[in-house]
Amino acid sequence: MVREFTGQTVVPGEVEGEILITSQPFYFNWVDLDTGLVSQAGNELDGKSVTGKILILPSFKANIDMWRLYRICRRGNGPLGLVTPRLADDYMIVGSILADLPLIHLVTPDPIKELQDGQRVKMVKDAVVTCS
């Protein structure tokens, strides 16, 4: 069954891929620049790769995440797109534009609760749609 989660496109772009979900503010300093792997003991994403994933997250953790995301993407190891149930802050918006990543915010119902790692979704204008 295809499910649709509606939101507001901030940075336009249509992409389709596997999702990676984190329920806590994400710190891109945990991501290795050259491998895309998260390294942070105790974090739910520890050992996983953000590369090529549609990352679903509540927010960035710090303002320097903007540049870290840019660096990871410049090295070709970044995510495919960003999705948040919240209102994206300036750093997430600017980070997405700089890194050429589609961004949808204010997504409802909360995809962090409703979806699971590994599911495939498509980011379209003002919505995230699951792929059956």
């Binding site: 540049w67 840019y70 660096r71 918006i93 600017v94 700089l98």
Partner: protein, 407 residues
């Protein structure tokens, strides 16, 4: 959003994709905040790709911007960087690290920037007037420009500030609009505040209680408030609660009296700041066991007045072995301090006068945290970040900070 004709070429790619992209950043943020038009700015204050956080990619970014042929349209100053350009070697910063950071220093000069790397740009020639629209970054600089200078700026993010510096325009939203500048929270100061660190404590307690609002302070009408006091109050508010504007009745330009800024919109809170509040806050920042201590002044950068005061306290004294004192400032102030003999006094005591550098965004930060048992400062901003790095942290007056590490 109405886009002025003068902005079109930047947005449409006449200067390449990077300029178009950062201009899009500026416009997108404005649209999301409900702006309907752009307004001209008097100056910009940006960051020039701090090497510690933006890396080689950040240096590439600024190189590409400088190579696109654009120039800053307004006076544009710049925040501290990851190195002290004149003495990185003496501080133990590796040559290749310094050379990497210098790429953006050269690019910034090519763009026509005011290259004095400081978080107090009004000390180095970027002095806004009341009512001026600005595009500034750095929460400490933004809150001073808004509150003490009476200029109007939101907290910009580097790429947006760079786009504003190049186009000379910002979206008219947030604190650019007069109706958003009235106070939401009233703080009545009962405690007797004397030292800059007392004002740092006031700002921290107020901001962590009420968060990102516009504040007005009363009860300070008869207290002298030189810039150095605001350098402690403002960054405490911005660090502890994302505050970007405050008023002090009888002092700051928009608050000749309380009625000018208070009572025009629903109040979000009121608080009396007592002597007890002040003492309790200092107690929170009095960990057990000093050990080998790193003392930091200049977050934000010290003025010459502060450097002179620090030199006076160090005159003829010596810092204990295995302790360390850094005094951060701008290049202009260090040159004057050298000429006036203050630099010699600080160095003879065993301290360092470090220019143009941010202690928190450098290769030295981890080393400082690893090599010392505790950290002390008179700055609530420095104390906040030190403690967030799990370091036992003291907030004390400047006098106590120095006295406690002298032989």
């Amino acid at each position: 959003m109405q886009i002025p004709d003068s902005m079109r070429p930047y947005l449409d790619g006449a200067y390449g994709e990077l300029v178009a992209k950062i201009t899009r950043v500026l416009v997108t943020l404005g649209e999301l905040k409900g702006a309907t038009r752009m307004v001209p700015i008097a100056s910009a204050h940006t960051s020039t790709m701090i090497y510690q956080s933006s890396g080689d990619e950040g240096q590439d970014f600024l190189d590409e911007l400088a190579a696109s042929g654009v120039q800053f349209a307004v006076p544009t100053s710049v925040d501290p960087i990851s190195i002290d350009i004149e003495q990185y070697g003496a501080l133990g910063i590796p040559e290749d690290y310094a050379r990497a950071q210098m790429r953006s220093v050269r690019a910034f000069a090519k763009l026509g920037g005011l290259g004095s790397y400081t978080c107090i740009p009004w000390n180095c020639g970027n002095v806004p007037r009341p009512g001026d629209h600005l595009a500034w970054v750095d929460s400490s600089a933004v809150i001073f420009a808004n509150s003490v200078l009476g200029a109007r700026t939101n907290r910009y993010v580097d790429p947006a500030a760079l786009a504003a510096a190049i186009t000379g325009l910002v979206p008219e939203c947030g604190l650019h609009r007069p109706e958003n500048r009235d106070a939401d929270v009233l703080i009545k100061v009962e405690a007797r505040l004397e030292k800059p660190s007392d004002f740092a404590a006031l700002g921290a307690v107020a901001a962590r209680t009420f968060g990102p609002q516009v504040y007005v302070f009363t009860g300070l009408e008869d207290v002298p408030l030189p810039n150095e006091v605001y350098h402690h109050l403002g960054p405490a508010l911005s660090t502890w609660g994302n505050v970007a504007l405050f008023h002090v009745v009888g002092h700051t330009p928009e608050a000749p009296d309380l009625e000018s800024v208070w009572g025009k919109k629903p109040a979000q809170g009121e608080m009396v700041f007592t002597q007890r509040d002040l003492d309790d806050f200092y107690a929170e920042f009095t960990p057990a066991g000093q050990g080998n201590q790193f003392v930091l002044f200049g977050c934000p950068h010290c003025t010459l007045t502060e450097v002179r005061e620090i030199a006076r306290l160090l005159q003829g004294r010596r810092i204990k072995p295995n302790h360390c004192l850094w005094v951060l400032t701008d290049l202009y102030t260090r040159h004057l301090a050298r000429r006036d003999g203050l630099l010699d006094t600080i160095e003879e005591a065993g301290g360092h006068l470090v220019a143009e550098m941010c202690w928190l965004l450098s290769i030295k930060t981890d080393e400082i945290m690893a090599n010392y048992d505790s950290f002390a400062s008179d700055s609530a901003k420095a104390a906040y970040f030190s403690r967030s790095l799990a370091m036992p942290t003291y907030l004390k007056s400047r006098e106590s900070c120095i006295e406690d590490i002298l032989e």
